[in-house]
Symmetry: C2
Subunit: 233 residues, 2 copies
């Protein structure tokens, strides 16, 4: 995150954000929704992943998208073609979504859609491998994408994202033959700092990894629904 020349202020900022995130999660839990926070550098393939996920899972689950971008609705427009609620949030100069912005999205969900009918909310964060990892938005799990073109050393150099993520998608594997890269070394570098992380190799072009990804989401939604019910009994 940004240095503010004031450590106490940074703690206050993160503390306020965390309170907002917990509040957002209470909403999701009350409505029986699982929320995923999807994060990566710009261009690692978040939006195409969402397109393929909506196409494959919209008949199985009721899905909405909260779409974070600094500016434009380019990504939101792509996702609206899948006939699910898409709520765009323009962050302006801000380099990540925070819990207050997502609360604004939840407010729209509450008043313009029927949130108790939803199973899954996919939050696409601003493209940034650093800051979004520190600002929880109320998600039940964090998903990080790393494109093979970004290089093997990125987990070591940008550790917070890889420490925080529950699932890592190593994307654009179809480009690996044209790169001097060892895919297993990326996974090894990540597991060094986060042994429990789920890692899936993915190519939007060839379809590699899509089924394991859909399975991972489906299991998470079902398990989370059970947990949410259990807490209400």
């Amino acid at each position: 995150m940004h240095q503010t020349f004031d450590a106490a202020l940074e703690l206050n900022l993160l503390h306020a954000n965390q309170k907002g995130a917990d509040h957002n999660r209470e909403h999701f839990d009350r409505w029986g929704i699982t929320c995923l926070n999807i994060m990566s550098s710009p261009g690692a393939g978040k939006t195409v992943l969402l397109e393929q996920t909506l196409a494959a899972l919209r008949d199985k689950f009721n899905i909405a998208v909260i779409e974070g971008d600094m500016t434009t609705e380019l990504d939101a427009d792509r996702l609206r073609q899948y006939d699910v609620p898409v709520i765009p949030i323009n962050t302006g100069r801000s380099c990540h979504l925070d819990s207050k912005m997502v609360a604004g999205g939840i407010h729209i969900l509450e008043h313009q859609h029927n949130p108790t009918d939803l199973d899954l909310v996919l939050v696409e964060n601003v493209g940034n491998l650093v800051c979004p990892a520190e600002f929880e938005v109320g998600e039940h799990a964090k998903v990080a994408l790393l494109s093979v073109t970004e290089g093997e050393d990125k987990p070591l150099k940008y550790p917070v994202m890889f420490q925080e993520a529950d699932c890592l998608l190593i994307t654009k594997t179809d480009l690996a033959p044209y790169l001097d890269i060892n895919l297993d070394r990326i996974a090894d570098n990540v597991r060094q700092m986060n042994p429990k992380i789920k890692i899936i190799y993915l190519s939007a072009k060839t379809g590699e990894g899509l089924e394991p990804w859909f399975d991972w989401i489906s299991n998470l939604v079902k398990q989370n629904a059970v947990n949410q019910l259990a807490r209400q009994i």
Copy 2:
């Protein structure tokens, strides 16, 4: 940048940073140094560009590198092989270099090297397409890299970097044949918001664009040296 829930605080933060940047630039000007701030997403090719630049220009100019990374000295170690002063700055959780951190690097330059002998300081920023664009560090010009794998729409979605940059290197052009991408559209999108920007298509693998890049740097260093002298007369 990060939203701090307080617009006045954000202004203060940027103002304090700008004062520090101006102070850093005074040092560079006094020593006759040109400073470049090199920025991009993680994995767009900043470090390999620096390697090729040091190899080509270290006999022509006296060069030092200030190497920003959240953690590790992996990049600094790569650049030390070129026998130039390399000053690593680990930013910890911070997502960009700020002028205070670079002042620390300048302090080391001043006390461990002979800065009046230097012509060029290359600052490699933390990999992030958003935040570094807002925090000047005392540079004379900003250089942005965008890899062709990141997609045509990125200049529209992350405009600040492309508005601020003096030179844009569109990198990894050797991968373009394997992507569904129109290189001219990237350049058009950038020129829409920044008509004066210098755009160079670059491939570290084939060498495309390296000569124009070396020419751009060489002209900048010479022109800046003239300006610095003129101000002292």
